[in-house]
Symmetry: C2
Amino acid sequence: ATAAGAGADTDVAASSSKSIYMISDGTGWTAEHSVSAALGQFEHCLVDRGCPVQTHLFSGIDDVEPLMEIVKQAAKEGAMVVYTLADPSMAEAAKQACKLWGLPSTDILGPITEAIASHLRVSPSGLPRGAPGRNIPLSDEYFRRIEAIEFTIKQDDGALPQNLHKADIILAGVSRTGKTPLSIYLAQKGYKVANVPIVMGVDLPKTLFQVDPEKVFGLTINPLVLQTIRRARAKTLGFTTEVGNINYSEMSYVRRELEFAGRIFSQNPVWPVIEVTGKAIEETAAVVLRLYQDRKHRCTMPRISKRY
Amino acid sequence: ATAAGAGADTDVAASSSKSIYMISDGTGWTAEHSVSAALGQFEHCLVDRGCPVQTHLFSGIDDVEPLMEIVKQAAKEGAMVVYTLADPSMAEAAKQACKLWGLPSTDILGPITEAIASHLRVSPSGLPRGAPGRNIPLSDEYFRRIEAIEFTIKQDDGALPQNLHKADIILAGVSRTGKTPLSIYLAQKGYKVANVPIVMGVDLPKTLFQVDPEKVFGLTINPLVLQTIRRARAKTLGFTTEVGNINYSEMSYVRRELEFAGRIFSQNPVWPVIEVTGKAIEETAAVVLRLYQDRKHRCTMPRISKRY
Ligand SMILES: Nc1ncnc2c1ncn2[C@@H]1O[C@H](COP(=O)(O)O)[C@@H](O)[C@H]1O
Ligand SMILES: Nc1ncnc2c1ncn2[C@@H]1O[C@H](COP(=O)(O)O)[C@@H](O)[C@H]1O
Ligand SMILES: [Mg+2]
Ligand SMILES: [Mg+2]
């Protein structure tokens, strides 16, 4: 039921759907991320199951006037309002305006920000990201993240096997186990990732067995689900009639290729094998990084640690 | 002050730094995203400025026993605790355990989830993502997102100009304006993105002028900042002695190349020109998508809408 074309966006509010207005003085991605996780709790009744929800994200709202306009519009639509506004007077204005119009509203970051402030015994700046004067110099992290993304793109789909030793993480799996999107997701988090396709009857690059095996991860998937994904893929690419790929989504081929991969994994017992069936990309990423950190730091409780 | 290597991770808690424990029954990315945005309010005193913070992310915690272990460890470190736990009894257990140990704690999604529940008049499922039995079928959005990522990788750096018409969004700018990471960020959100480098004296692909100009975005940047980024880049690539690139980060060249780009932009007045100086990738992405949606839907208030 999402709109055709890019980004699942649509402007046509189905009259039956409930609206959520999200307002930020920054990008709005924090509000969007939080709302979308919270909506996971209502999956049993979302689109096509009785209670469709329409979200509207307003970013860069750093002035009271547009803020009031948006709340007014929310009132017209009977929407609920969530906001992230760094300036306490803006946050207060949003709260009061919603109260006035009788709209439910939630300040998403207010409580955590207050808790952190007491914990650090430091007052929050009250300045939105992108506020004038907040000229943060380009950090090492900025450069590392960009380098990781560029590395990962160049290494996609088994390219440049001579560079596998430069990767932080190497993913191996048969076609359509989600290696590419997973690589990219991890790259965004600052890891240099290489992915190596496993194709039945094709030798893997020698370098894969020369690198530290602790950084290699095998991906596996249920054959039926893989077949579904491959069929969708074949349709997109217009594969169906192409001779070379006739087997690609055929069940016996899918099974045998997964067995072929399985044998390689058992010959390399240090590689963890991760089941991706039914997992979203970010879920598999969480599993990979937990194992990765665990192997690197050998904590009693697996965790991902970071300094700010 | 971040650890060398991947992902800015480190396990050595500087004795002076304050800890934040983040606990999720899912991936933990929502908690991480929220905490990192909230920490933006304390940038004036973070690392190297007096109050370093160490975060620890514990994902996949769907049982009381490990939850209690983590809270106990948090107590040892004098950490504060934030959590996202879908099962109300787990959330309550976290809250009570923190109270018992005297630790400040914040439930990140509880308030929004409750607000959404009253708005929709539906109870939350209480089931964490990845809970057994929650077998969500692969959605159109899943496939679209993967297709967008694969398209975007293939189109990187001006590749395949004959496919520009298939892109949702085209980014044009000189080297090191952040086209690649921006493209990837947008691709993750489901948009097919192509990026086209502008290089002084090199003709742009003809197809760029044949596509709908409303989907083309120019990127520009302050010359001094660009020079800094290019110098860092040249160092990474070991460019400095290479004759072909001797000018790449030289000020007069940087200026002239930006002017060259500026002339192209003024010849194509429909293309918005976006200033990326001092902006994080996700901030530029927010600007691009706001304009993109605005042009597509011509709302009175620019917004990004989505159905769930
Ligand atoms: N680096 C930062 N510095 C200051 N405030 C920030 C930073 N990052 C995010 N924020 C604030 O956190 C909230 C969420 O940000 P965003 O995800 O960009 O909407 C907004 O109120 C932003 O102003
Ligand atoms: N699709 C979903 N279905 C149910 N719960 C979800 C979903 N996505 C996220 N959550 C919950 O939202 C919280 C944050 O998720 P995460 O970002 O994965 O840590 C956790 O309590 C998850 O269990
Ligand atoms: Mg791939
Ligand atoms: Mg590039």
